[in-house]
């Protein structure tokens, strides 16, 4: 008998929370982006675990979609971050305030 499914759900919850906290406290856009990816992968883990627990393939199919979409998001995201970096701006989201009232 393997590890029960709810253990994986706890793990995915912890990973998701770590990612969310990372997004809130880190200031480098690249690191924030990595934290978002951590959140998405936590979701993948949850989908895979639930899928196995329920014996249905929907969750696995969903995880496939999440993987593909997050790859697309990463490519677009890195491109945008590189673009900002090349404009010679500090890599700190707290200083992104050209549009404050």
């Amino acid at each position: 008998m393997g590890v029960p499914a709810y253990e994986f759900l706890w793990l995915s919850g912890v990973l998701f929370t770590l990612g969310a906290i990372g997004v809130l406290i880190r200031r480098n856009p690249l690191v924030i982006f990595m934290c978002i990816e951590l959140m998405l992968n936590a979701v993948n883990l949850a989908f895979a675990a639930i899928s196995r627990y329920l014996n249905s393939l929907d969750g696995v199919a969903f995880a496939f979609l999440v993987i593909t979409v997050s790859a697309a998001e990463v490519v677009v995201g890195i491109a945008i971050i590189v673009q900002v970096y090349r404009a010679g701006r500090a890599m700190d989201v707290d200083e992104m305030d050209l549009m404050k009232e």
């Binding site: 496939f64 593909t68 790859a71």
Partner: protein, 119 residues
Amino acid sequence: MLSDYFPLLIFLGAVVLFGLLALFLPAFLAGSRQSAAKDLPYECGIVPRSTARRRFSVSFYLTAMLFIIFDVEAIFIYPWAVILHGLRWFGIAEMGIFVAILLVALAYIWKKGALEWGS
């Protein structure tokens, strides 16, 4: 139940011990001679031409990103391949559309020069 794993524990212990021995024993048994070649990242293989801490061309990232995006699409081809026999021509046609869309994307990045290296 747990006792079944006892041999595994012994094996693990032996592995760690051997690793440590191999690490420290030569220092006592063999002498130590320093030379420039020994400080290289790899003692054999390609001789490094400059320091590793230098900027990479942005082309590396571009290529890596393009690789990821096309590579991940293969995720959908695996489950398709498993049931292709059952799907017959319908499956071939569906995957044909999928790959055709990817080909349009490939044609686009090709024409835009994203596959050119160092120009």
